[in-house]
């Protein structure tokens, strides 16, 4: 079920976010849903179930097929980011509140973009020369946009009446 869900999110990512661009930044729906998933699941559950990782990889490969980047980079970026969030959540942000989660969102979107940027530079070096554009403009904009989107969606989820799972967010 989670694999199908991720494929659906990947499908939406291909068809709709390019049209939701604000100042050139588009939302990364897969990453946004990964973050929401991490935050709304029960604390007691063991982290990163296998089918979650397979679903995420399937969505990543789907995105890779449509991307102009080297095939597989988006998937690797997503997996790397998920491992980072998992590690940060376990080791640093064991008690999550609104602020720590905002930092978690910011750092994971930033990490994802940097992985993609540097692997792109490694695999297709001729295509990345305008570093200033990416590091000063494009990436910060995407980080802010996606973090705001995650926080908004969590707020909506909270309004829709599932406060028990995410109440720690707003403590």
């Amino acid at each position: 079920m989670i694999i199908l869900f991720f494929l659906l999110v990947g499908f939406f990512q291909i068809n709709f976010p390019p049209f939701l661009r604000l100042f050139g930044a588009a939302p990364n729906l897969v990453l946004v849903f990964v973050l929401i998933w991490f935050l709304t699941r029960k604390e007691s559950k063991p982290s990163l179930p296998f089918n979650f990782l397979i679903g995420l990889s399937a969505a990543g490969l789907f995105l890779d097929l449509f991307s102009g980047l080297f095939f597989g980079l988006i998937t690797l970026g997503l997996l790397g980011t998920v491992y980072l969030i998992d590690w940060l959540k376990k080791k640093i942000f064991s008690q999550i509140n609104f602020w720590t989660f905002s930092i978690l969102s910011l750092s994971s979107v930033l990490f994802y973009n940097l992985i993609i940027l540097f692997s792109y530079k490694f695999f297709q070096p001729s295509f990345i020369t305008n570093w200033k554009y990416y590091l000063v403009y494009s990436i910060p904009l995407e980080v802010i946009y996606n973090t705001i989107l995650v926080l908004l969606l969590l707020f909506v989820i909270r309004l829709r009446g599932k406060p028990r799972r995410i109440s720690f967010l707003w403590a």
Partner: protein, 270 residues
């Protein structure tokens, strides 16, 4: 501690580690296979299956975008309508003038024995997806090598508007790099003043000498110098000229002529 408990704990630890490593390993294998060109077949099958309905879904996304844009601009509609009507009148006059120039040009070519301008061979293609990351302006089209498309072929929209060029082609699909990509470089020409320049991605023309004439509103076309794009494709118009006494060269910001977010179909120049 009972041994079965220790084994169980160890089993879960190994399983968890395998769960971490396995997906990365699978992706690494896929990257390797792709680099060797072994995934071309499955990719072609995927795009042949998905293309027919993907183009409709993409079109739905474009229409949603158009609708949202319409809602955003609804207040300005009347104002814009008057502006466009005025512009339309001016353009009608210009078209009549240009028709005269075309017939004169045809006559002179005949008199001088010059060959006619070569007509471009165009292939109509549907856009089936956009780049999902922020690192590039690409889109995917539903025709490929089997339809005669090649890498580096120029891609245009109706009315000769520049869109980009093909950077990767497979049997039934191709990837197009838009000319707005930060890494793109195009040799351009200011139509009115015949000033040549290099337009970088981010839509900036650099290295224009201070004594050369370039003004806001002037038309930018491809110069055809690099051979990547044929001469005369409409790129856009000069939006702003950036120059101060402290600078040696002038720079100009270009507003693209094609609305790249609303394209559903484009032409590839064979």
């Amino acid at each position: 501690m009972p041994s079965f408990y220790v084994n169980k704990k160890r089993y879960w630890k190994i399983k968890r580690k395998a769960g971490f490593v396995l997906p990365v390993f699978i992706i690494a294998v896929i990257i390797f296979l792709n680099a060797q060109g072994l995934l071309e077949g499955p990719k072609n099958i995927f795009f042949r299956i998905i293309s027919p309905f993907q183009k409709d879904i993409y079109s739905l996304g474009v229409n949603l975008n158009k609708f949202a844009d319409f809602l955003r601009r609804i207040k300005k509609t009347e104002e814009e309508n008057i502006k466009y009507q005025e512009e339309n009148q001016k353009l009608k006059g210009k078209i009549a003038e240009l028709r005269e120039v075309v017939s004169e040009n045809k006559f002179l070519r005949q008199q001088l024995g010059l060959p006619d301008n070569q007509k471009k061979q165009l292939v109509l293609v549907n856009i089936i997806g956009r780049e999902p990351t922020n690192l590039g302006d690409y889109f995917l089209i539903d025709k490929g090598r089997k339809d005669g498309l090649n890498e580096k072929s120029a891609v245009i929209a109706a009315n000769n508007l520049l869109v980009g060029r093909i950077i990767e082609v497979s049997d039934y699909s191709a990837k197009v790099l838009l000319f707005t990509h930060p890494e793109s470089r195009i040799d351009v020409l200011v139509q009115e003043s015949r000033v040549n320049g290099l337009m970088r991605g981010g839509l900036i023309i650099d290295w224009i000498l201070p004594n050369e004439t370039i003004e806001a509103g002037q038309t930018i076309i491809t110069s055809g110098l690099s051979g990547l794009f044929p001469k005369g494709l409409l790129v856009g118009e000069v939006e702003e000229v950036i120059f101060s006494d402290a600078q040696i060269f002038k720079r100009a910001r270009v507003k693209p002529a094609a609305d790249l977010d609303r394209l559903e179909m484009v032409f590839v120049i064979k």
